[in-house]
Amino acid sequence: MGHEPVKFYQVGSFAVGNRLLDRDERTVQSDSGRSNSLTSGHRACQGCGEALGARYALDAAMRAAAGRLVAANATGCLEVFSTPYPETSWQIPWLHSLFGNAPAVATGMAAALKAKGRTDVRVVAQAGDGGTVDIGFGALSGMFERNDDVLFICYDNEAYMNTGVQRSGATPPAARTATTEAIGDEPGNVFGQGKNVPMLAVAHEIPYVATASVAELHDLERKVERAMGLRGARYIHILVPCPLGWQAASCDTVRLARLAAETGLFPLFEAEHGRVVDVRPIRKRVPVEDYLRPQGRYKHLFGEHGRPDLVAAIQEIADGNIERFGLLAEAVEAGAR
């Protein structure tokens, strides 16, 4: 038997840092010198996944761009909680656009920088799911189609949270929102509608598309770094649980994001030029019920007048994703480290 070197690091790359890993294998977030693009004192709710996701993504982008980064930001919680006049939580040059035009504004910023010969300065645009998949979608599709040099990041909390939890095109079936109340026979949001914008982005055959989550930091940072290494239109869609809108405990934000991936409801994948090139395999598969139960927006599915039929329908969606993206393959390998 040959000599097998130790390849085991206790929590390996699942945790944020891990003192046993080489420094360059740890995350940007584990570094005390991270840029904290979104700094303390912001007014996001306790346990806000969007605040967390934004710092994760922008700190990684800041490192990749060596600190030369500007951002356009659509209206939504992320903008409202970070910039009550005259305060700002942003430690990067940051511009508030309108609710629907962040992609177009970012396109303009990139064009201006190009005209000034400052292509070393990189542009990101960011918006919530409402700003991305609904009102901003026309501008976004144009930005993709022209292959403008912008990284667009969507923070998906699955509804219009800032205005009081209204349904968006990214709200999942059966979820209760202020506009899809679960009353009587109505099951909350309808099945069979809504938009899968990551796949629509793939259909634009832009250089890079990825989905990510606040529960998989190494994965998220790697994707941002990859996106920043490319030019042209790039899109990252990050699942960011919202304790308020999901009626969940504030401490469960990361756990719910993890369960979304581990059930198969939120597949983590990467695509380049129209092709899915990689998926993050599920590590410990769990039934969708484990994900739905802790969320008040699904509470009408359980209990005495519960809807096991709808839970089963949601399970089918998860199973469909697992099959479509091959989420169980290589699961063993992922566990090895």
Binding site: P5, V11, F14, Q29, R43, Q46, R55, P86
Partner: protein, 542 residues
């Protein structure tokens, strides 16, 4: 004056002026919880603590932390029944961490590298007598010497070590290992006077002018059972048998050996008999496998070496060249009842391994000590009823193992130290237990336990070579890193990363983290995502 719209009149400010900590109703607090392994270790080792150093490959630091509590890691890594592993949380995930294997690795490595320990306190000028050089006496002597006291051990036998030498066979505990660990204790300045039997503890204390005494005489007498036996029958007791097997002139046993009893001593007697040339070694035990006191791993090893078991059997009488056994059946209370069915087993020698008792004659003349279950009674602080006389190990009522004996020695040393200063020792408060349900095990990588290499059974049954091998540095590192660090921060940076409000401050390698309560909103994500359960939420005091 030009009129400006309000929206451009104010200087840009930072949200840092907005102290969101005022929103909080609960606050996260870092804690250390008691890992179940530490809780389970009879010697009170800080296992999680020394594994932490071993995880980084800093074996010397690991060993130094280990020997703060236990001076005999190379011995214990081999013979301890590792209740730490029985308690280990990782068992619920896959398999318990092989703590004893890493302990042994550290112990062996220290012997190879010649690490020494030094007294931690300057000489106190006080003198303590220790009677008996088994693990309990050695442990007490070591800790007392580290605390600056002058220690003399009186030992009746001609070599030190007690049952570690005269009971536990070489194939489980090589004597060079034992000698080296005892040697390290001696080099701390402990005097061992061999061949000195103490017959009256109070007199020995007075004659030697000792300020305090620790007695750890063990349980040296084999319990006897009345068995009708032919005059020519050859019957030995296990303690004397194992003791003579240790000497230069081992007893001749004949071909067929029957061992009577179901404890570890019975296992060792049968395995030793095999090694001394017996072709058949049978253990006769009156109950069933699940009820036998021997440790499962010892039974496994014995069976693997070809020892056979006669369950539910008692010896009725011993004849010339055979024993007659009666088959038993368990009644409702689990007690064996005779069936009236008999069998005959060939036996050239019968070894009785029915337990041991303590010879208490050395304390007989002390009026104020009391005896319970054949053992000398002691308080929490290990002091007998007689002021200044402490006792521990097999001679006090407790579980009889090497590590329990070591733990008693340590506790007694602390109490003696306090006694010598005119104080009474108190046991330090314990942290709350780090239960499995406090962990977030999602973060831990999957990994099976490293299996220690074993001597092939064929070789093992004929020699006294050590049966179970040790880990190499790679395996030891791997095994150490399987530890979940239950209840104690291991600097994974999760809390630092997952806070949406950047309210966790990293204090630098080895210094852990702190909360910035100016901004912490009290969401509790850090608590939920700490893999090892080292953070709790506490109600905010207003």
């Amino acid at each position: 004056m030009m009129h400006k719209p309000f929206a451009i009149t104010l200087e840009v400010g930072s949200s840092l002026t907005n102290h969101t900590g005022s929103w909080r109703v609960e606050r996260p607090v870092y804690v250390d919880r008691l890992p179940p392994c530490n809780d389970g270790c009879p010697a009170g080792e800080n296992i999680q603590g020394w594994l932490y150093h071993a995880e980084e490959g800093d074996y010397e630091a690991a060993w130094r932390l280990l020997v703060k509590d236990n001076p005999l890691p190379a011995v214990c890594g081999r013979v301890c029944y590792h209740p730490c592993e029985t308690a280990c949380n990782r068992a619920e995930l896959d398999e318990a961490v092989g703590i004893h294997a890493v302990e042994r690795f550290l112990g062996d490595r220290a012997l190879e590298a010649g690490y020494r320990t030094e007294p931690v306190l300057p000489p106190s000028g006080r003198r303590v007598l220790v009677v008996g050089s088994g693990p309990s006496g050695l442990s007490a002597a070591y800790h007392l010497a580290r605390l600056g006291h002058e220690v003399t051990i009186h030992e009746a036998a001609h070599e030190a070590g007690g049952m570690m030498r005269y009971g536990i066979p070489k194939y489980r505990l090589p004597r060079d290992v034992l000698d080296a660990e005892i040697g390290r204790i001696v080099s701390l300045g402990v005097r061992i006077e061999l061949g000195r039997r103490v017959t009256d503890v109070a007199r020995a204390r007075q004659e030697g002018g000792f300020d305090a005494v620790f007695i750890a005489l063990g349980a040296q007498l084999s319990r006897r059972a009345y068995l009708p036996a032919a005059d020519s029958a050859r019957i030995l007791d296990a303690v004397s048998f194992l003791r003579s097997a240790e000497g230069a002139d081992p007893p001749s046993l004949g071909r067929r050996v029957v061992v009577y009893g179901g404890g570890n001593t019975a296992m060792d007697s049968a395995r030793t008999a095999k090694r001394l040339g017996a072709s058949d070694a049978v253990i006769v035990y009156r109950r069933t496998r699940d009820r036998m006191p021997a440790h499962e791993s010892e039974l496994e090893e014995a069976l693997a070496e070809g020892i056979t078991m006669s369950w539910l059997s008692t010896i009725e009488r011993v004849e010339d060249g055979s024993v007659v056994i009666e088959k038993m059946t368990l009644d409702d209370t689990g007690f064996p009842q005779p069936t009236g069915e008999y069998e005959t087993l060939g036996a050239d020698t019968v070894v009785l391994a029915l337990g041991q008792e303590t010879d208490l004659s050395a304390v007989e003349r002390l009026a104020d000590v009391s005896v319970r279950d054949g053992g000398l009674e002691v308080g929490e602080d290990m002091m007998t009823g007689h002021p200044g006389i402490f006792a521990g190990g097999d001679m006090v009522p407790a579980e009889r193992t090497v590590t329990v004996a070591i733990g008693h020695g340590k506790r007694a040393a602390r109490s003696i130290d306090a006694y010598l200063r005119g104080e009474r020792s108190t046991r330090p408060g314990r942290h709350e237990l780090a239960r499995y349900d406090r962990l977030n095990t999602w973060y831990y990588a999957d990994a099976p336990k490293t299996v220690q290499p074993e001597l092939e059974t064929v070789r093992r049954a004929s020699t006294f070579d050590e049966v179970v091998g040790g880990l190499d540095a790679d395996n030891a590192l791997f095994e150490a890193r399987r530890c979940l660090s239950c209840g104690n921060c291991f600097e994974c940076d999760n809390c630092f990363g997952v806070c949406p409000d950047n309210a966790v401050v990293k204090l630098g390698q080895g210094k852990r983290y702190a909360f910035d309560y100016d901004y912490c909103k009290g969401c509790g994500i850090c608590v939920a995502e700490c893999p090892c359960g080292a953070i709790v939420m506490e109600p905010e005091m207003i």
